[in-house]
């Protein structure tokens, strides 16, 4: 949890020369391992922030409305990776459920792409997120977070997700830095491939 009153930063400060921030969104249901994955690669301990929404699930842009008892906040986690002297990458963990999709513009607007993190024990949690990402034309890959227990083959997971063969489906261990790093690298590789596909229709 964030500290309430101290307002002190944790982790190393960004270099003064950094001026170009990028973002990638990790979408997943409750307990799919979003924060774990972010924490595995982030240079700062994952932070949590919040945005105001109405209980009807609509975002608001007027702070005066917070006095209204029909508002709640929705919390989301994020981390940070300094890429070079000029660029920093932020990773946001986004809840996949329908009622939180009002965060779309804030989280996905201007993001490079998305990773859908799947817990195979709760496949259905991912359907809505995949549907929305496809609808918005947001490029993404799907990563199955391998927990202990049964490991259904990827072909079966793809079938259960009704996932297009064009979307990469990979396995990962969200706890392991190396594995989490490769999830992000695979997303960037997919984005690069989409460029080539655009040039050779």
């Amino acid at each position: 949890m964030v500290q309430r009153a101290a307002a002190v930063r944790s982790g190393p400060p960004l270099r003064a020369t950094v001026g170009d921030a990028l973002k990638i969104v990790i979408v997943g249901g409750f307990g799919a391992g979003k924060t774990t994955l972010v924490g595995a690669v982030s240079e700062i301990p994952p932070l949590s922030t919040e945005e105001i929404m109405t209980t009807a699930g609509v975002g608001i842009d007027d702070p005066a409305a917070v006095a209204d008892k029909n508002t709640t906040t929705v919390a989301f986690d994020f981390g940070r990776i300094t890429l070079n002297d000029r660029q920093v990458l932020y990773l946001f963990g986004a809840p996949g459920q329908q009622r939180f999709w009002f965060l779309w513009d804030q989280l996905f607007g201007g993001s490079l792409g998305a990773v859908v993190l799947v817990d195979t024990r709760r496949i259905a949690d991912s359907w809505y997120a995949i549907d929305r990402l496809e609808h918005h034309g947001m490029p993404f890959i799907v990563a199955v977070n391998r927990f202990d227990g049964p490991r259904p083959p990827l072909a079966r997971v793809r079938q259960a997700l009704d996932l297009s063969p064009r979307i990469p489906l990979i396995e990962c261990d969200a706890r392991a830095r190396r594995s989490a790093k490769h999830v992000l690298i695979d997303l960037v590789a997919h984005l690069t491939d989409l460029h080539s596909a655009e040039r050779t229709p």
Binding site: V2, G19, D20, L22, K23, D62, V66, A75, I185
Partner: protein
């Protein structure tokens, strides 16, 4: 992932830090404060990853939350999302405070210049830089 009522432990805090302002009134307030030559705070792109840099030392008499922003940004740029987290204030509220500080020229913002435009892929040079950065992790 969780939701809770706003201000569960500090019910009046959001009202106090924003002065209970409606957005329209906040804009008028910022116009009144605005220094000659300062950019119009309403023109600033305030994305979750817009980076904020403090300009100068916090002047005496600055409201607590505004001073906290300047203090947090004093030893390097900080994103709007990080400010929101450290201040434990919703993103919308932090945006309003940042526009106050822009109006009086106390902060500069660095918008996400390499972010892809809507419905466009990120450019290849950006993807290359991200790939190299990730491989160096």
């Amino acid at each position: 992932m969780n939701t809770r009522q706003v201000g569960g432990e500090d019910p009046d805090r959001l009202y106090i830090v924003t002065g209970g302002r409606l957005v329209a009134r906040a804009a008028a307030h910022q116009d009144a404060l605005r220094r000659d030559g300062a950019p119009n705070p309403r023109d600033a792109v305030l994305d979750l990853v817009t980076l904020v840099v403090g300009v100068g030392v916090p002047p005496p008499g600055l409201p607590t939350e505004h001073a906290a922003i300047l203090r947090l940004c004093s030893d390097g740029p900080l994103s709007l999302a990080e400010l929101s987290s450290y201040l434990a204030l919703p993103v919308t509220v932090v945006k309003l405070l940042l526009r106050d500080l822009l109006a009086v020229g106390r902060i500069a913002v660095r918008p996400p210049v390499s972010a892809p435009a809507p419905d466009r892929l990120p450019d290849l040079e950006t993807l290359k830089q991200v790939l190299v950065g990730l491989q160096n992790l």
